[in-house]
Amino acid sequence: MIPGSFEYFAPTALDEALSLLQEHGDDAKVLAGGHSLIPTMKLRLAEPAVIIDIGRIGGLKGISESDGKLVIGALTTHHELESSDLVQQKVPLLAQTAAEIGDVQVRNKGTIGGSLAHADPAADWPAAILALDADLQIAGPNGERSVKATDFFQGLYETDLGDDEILTAIHVSIPDANTKGTYLKLHQVASGFALTGVAVVLTKSGDTCQSVAVGITGVSDAPYRASAVESELTGAALDAENIAAAAERSVDGIDALEDIHASQAYRQNLAKVYTRRAIESAAS
């Protein structure tokens, strides 16, 4: 558990970090909370020559409300999201998701931005971020840009984030009073990651589903929006039968993973059961 040697930079300004990234390119890795990167370095699965620790850059941390949105700094820890009154009032789904991540030590150090940028296929945040249709703010050599969550996740540990870019913030629209969110997860018992995690954001109009967004993690090599479920349920009455029928479509077009922890068939089953239960919970 001894990493290889590396050069360490701790810039205090975003520009400085970006120019270090420019300079070192592929050799560099950005360090946030360190809970994905450092274990892989200790195992020497990753041996970056340069570490750019963005922890001392001001302005990348914290949660605020602005123009009907929650603005979450990329360096905000899982624990801060779990325990924030603002989050619990405005977007409780985020707090609920944070509480399901790892253990206390991981939540105290790990960051939402680090998790999203790493894009572990079984991480919890992507499900919620997808279901909330969040916007990810990215800084690069050409300035800032914003990308939709649905466009951000591209595959196994692959995102839209360029080698010379840094994820700076996550913008989440604050849902209205008729909208409820739920995150349900089966933990992979060793790692605590999601064997399956389903986030649902559902807006009711009476007993009818006005709109629904379903984000699923852990099932495929990238988190996804279960669009077949969403179209099946939108406009339908929120009864047990309709919910179950819609949930059956949660792996439509999805190539479910198989590994030592779960077979493909089991993951498909989990996606359906957890989707059904998450919708039932959000609709109740």
């Binding site: 274990p39 089966l186 018992v189």
Partner: protein, 778 residues
């Protein structure tokens, strides 16, 4: 006058561990915490292949890395001997076991070369510069296939991959099966487990050339055995070797061993004449510290309509791994011995086959062979009950021996010392209110909910000794010394590494001498200080080591009473030790201060005639038999049949471990034991792929039980003292592990019995439970 006071009896009191404050505050010293000036750091290059020929090893680039002191391979070990195996089994094939691989590697993680550098980082970097030319060979990883005639061979000259076969036959098995109303058959896999002590292994060795002494600090359960073996292997006269087991952070059997790293680091310290340290990385702990369990069992039982089990037949394939560690082949033989569990089954036939595979060696892991036996019999009893349409409770009572039948010789040739299986089982049934639970189960099933009630009644072997039944020494030693100031030093040959004997032994001594527990120190784990001992394993420390101590204490008391009697002009036989005084029983006026007698014994100016100064005795105790704890575990679970998730609603156990020294520590042992047993039932399992790569090589993929997953444990006891030691204790280190694994599996299978599920292979992951339901549904 008296500064010492012990107002109440300590034995039986639930006092907190005296070890804990230093542990909790980080003030203790594990091997890695010990710093010697000029220490060099060692790292091992390990095989990435499960089976490969080594064509060549090029260490030249590694040697050139600045800071590297030396790089060695097997050919640099000179006269260093093989890693020892203490097992004696007829016709056992014993492969050579060099400390560094010679010519061939046989499991992933096998040490191939060792680097010594000025710091641990350089040592690690240098490993990447060693070039080994391997030629990969077919790996043997599957137990059933390993014994087939066309399997690739791990040792060419053995002709097959069978290390040994051990048949065991008692009674007339063929007749029992021919005459039985039913024969129930099942294949079980008792999966391979990785012990994962919280502290990984570590070794620090220092050789002083002037004195010719080798001192080795090692995270071990057996410092004395290690001392003798290092003397023999590393060629240092034993009187010049000292082994110290400082604070040891758990072992569970995995540190009951002599490992290649202990030998290589000692050898390097001698060669380099500088202290050399190696601290095992967690990834190394996963691949190269011994594993546990790993058996495939083919079992039949003969059962009559009234539930009487008349015979058991088993073929046991035990995975030994690629080489033998200290006790590797012996562990599955304990499964043979305990196969009838707590039942009277007169006819037994077992064929045990020890199988070599391209994996890490198996060896003792908490329970060591007994959990496997208990799993076999407790699962089979449930299957037999289902076959004859009997309740799982009733079939157990039907086959228990009666309390007046003890000591009870069982067909496998051992004698159960004492027991009352009905009492502990009845108590557990009462705690859960078994009959109403069964009613509740029926009602819930009507609502489509699946409650399961699992039972395990077990007997096991503890108090490892006598010597005739052990590989080397079934006794234990202790020295008890009353110092001139009246403080008491206890030296024990056992080597606690989490069990808490600094507390329990002090409780016993405080009562013996009538002194305050804070005036007693229990010292262990240093061969330079203690008399020779055997070590801590097999739940033996209190039953064997504690007895040695109590007898030695009695000898000191006898002498001390003579001195006190001389001072008081009393009869030594009339004296008692109470509250810091030695007094004539029934005459509190006739008393002398304990401390004053201690001082007098050392000043030695006024001793009775024909006595020698000093207050110290050493005793070596060997028990006449093992002890056999027993008990009953009951689990209540509900299974989510949509997902296979298991909700543990209650966990009750009533253990009978004989007399109890400290109920708090007993509870700790039971809780930890159950957690590890449930770990096997629900979460844990080492997975090697077909090429012999360990897929569960980290905590990301290998699930040890976590506190948040455990239910509330409802524990209770019955007390049936053991007759084989004067304290009537049995041992509790492994009981929880042994009883709990089949209990949980029985509960889940019981829950799913409406689907026709008869067995699920461990660990019962949600995936496997769900799949079992799907398979049963067809």
């Amino acid at each position: 006058m008296a500064t010492i006071a012990a107002p109440t009896r300590m034995v039986g009191a639930p006092i907190k561990r005296r070890e804990d404050p230093r542990l909790i505050q980080g003030l203790s010293h594990y091997v890695d915490d010990i710093r010697l000036v000029g220490t060099l750091h060692c790292a091992f290059l390990r095989s990435d292949y499960a089976h490969a020929a080594i064509n060549s090893i090029d260490t030249s680039a590694a040697k050139e890395l600045p800071g590297v002191v030396t790089v060695i391979t097997a050919e640099d070990l000179g006269e260093v001997g093989d890693i020892p195996c203490g097992a004696e089994i007829p016709d056992l094939k014993v492969p050579g076991h060099p400390a560094l691989a010679v010519g061939r590697v046989r499991f992933v993680g096998e040490a191939v070369a060792a680097v010594v550098a000025t710091d641990a980082y350089i040592a690690r970097d240098a490993l990447d510069l060693i070039e080994v030319d391997y030629e990969e060979l077919p790996a043997v990883t599957n137990l059933d296939k390993a014994v087939e005639a066309d399997s690739p061979l791990i040792y060419d000259d053995f002709g097959d991959n069978i290390g040994f076969t051990m048949p065991l036959e008692a009674g007339d098995v063929d007749a029992a099966f021919a005459e039985a109303d039913h024969v129930v058959s099942q294949r079980f896999v008792n999966q391979r487990l990785i012990p994962n002590a919280m502290e990984t292994r570590g070794v620090l060795a220092e050789y002083l050339p002037g004195e010719g002494t080798l001192t080795v600090w090692s995270s071990t359960q057996v410092p004395h055995i290690l001392k003798t073996q290092l003397a023999l292997i590393a060629n240092v006269p034993e009187q010049k070797v000292r082994v110290i087991a400082p604070e040891v952070g758990g072992g569970f059997g995995s540190k009951l061993n002599v490992y290649p790293e202990e030998v290589v680091v000692s050898h390097l310290a001698i060669q380099l004449r500088k202290p050399v340290k190696w601290t095992e990385k967690r990834t190394e702990n996963f691949t190269t510290t011994i594993h546990g369990r790993d058996q495939v069992n083919y079992v039949d039982v003969a059962v009559n309509n009234d539930g009487t089990i008349t015979g058991i037949r088993a073929k046991i394939l035990a995975d030994l791994g690629a080489s033998y560690q200290l006790l590797t082949p012996l562990i599955p033989t304990l499964t043979n011995l305990m196969i009838v569990g707590c039942y009277k089954i007169p006819n037994v036939q077992i064929e045990l086959v020890g199988v070599l595979t391209n994996k890490m060696a198996t060896d003792a892991y908490r329970g060591a062979g007994r959990p496997e036996a208990t799993y076999i019999i407790e699962r089979m009893v449930d299957l037999a009950a289902a076959q004859v349409g009997m309740d799982a409770k009733d079939i157990r009572f039907k086959n228990f021996p009666q309390p007046d039948e003890f000591p009870l010789e069982i067909p496998t040739g051992i004698i159960y010392d004492s027991g009352n299986y009905q009492e502990s089982f009845n108590k557990a049934l009462g705690i859960v209110d078994y009959d109403s639970l069964r009613n509740q189960q029926v009602q819930l099933r009507q609502q489509g909910r699946y409650l399961g009630i699992g039972i395990s009644t077990y007997a096991e072997i503890c108090g490892m000794g006598p010597s005739i039944a052990m590989p080397a020494g079934g006794w234990e030693s202790s020295t008890v010394r009353v110092e001139p100031t009246g403080k008491i030093t206890v030296l024990t040959g056992v080597s606690p590494h989490g069990q808490g004997q600094e507390t329990t032994f002090a409780q016993m001594i405080a009562d013996e001498f009538g002194v305050d527990i804070d005036d007693v120190a229990v010292i262990h784990g240093d061969t330079g200080r203690q008399p020779y001992g055997i070590g801590t394993f097999g739940s033996r420390a209190t039953a064997v080591g504690g007895t040695a101590m109590v007898i030695a204490a009695g000898q000191v008391k006898e002498k001390m009473a003579k001195f006190a009697a001389h001072l008081m002009e009393a009869n030594p036989d009339d004296l008692v030790f109470e509250e810091g005084s030695i007094l004539v029983e029934g005459s509190p006026d006739q008393a002398v201060d304990f401390v004053a007698v201690a001082l007098e014994a050392h000043v030695a100016k006024n001793l009775p005639p024909d006595t020698t100064p000093g207050l110290e005795a050493t005793h070596f105790f060997e028990p006449s038999n093992f002890t056999y704890p027993f008990g009953a575990h009951i689990a209540v679970v509900e299974v989510d049949t949509d997902t296979g998730e298991i909700d543990i609603q209650r966990y009750v156990c009533v253990d009978d471990i004989g007399n109890i020294i400290n109920p708090l520590l007993v509870a700790g042992q039971v809780h930890g034991g159950i957690a590890q047993g449930l770990g096997q039932a629900l979460y844990e399992g080492a997975v090697y792929d077909e090429s012999g790569q360990l897929l569960t090589g980290s905590f990301m993929d290998y699930a040890v039980p976590k506190a948040t997953q455990m239910p509330h444990f409802e524990t209770d006891h019955t007390v049936t003292p053991s007759p084989v030691n004067p304290m009537g204790v049995k041992g509790v280190g492994e009981a929880g592990t042994i009883g709990s694994t089949p209990c949980m599996v029985n509960a889940v299978v019981d829950a799913l019995s409406p689907f026709g599920v008869k067995d699920i292979e461990m660990p019962l992951t949600p995936n496997r439970v769900w799949q079992a339901i799907q398979d049963a549904k067809g």
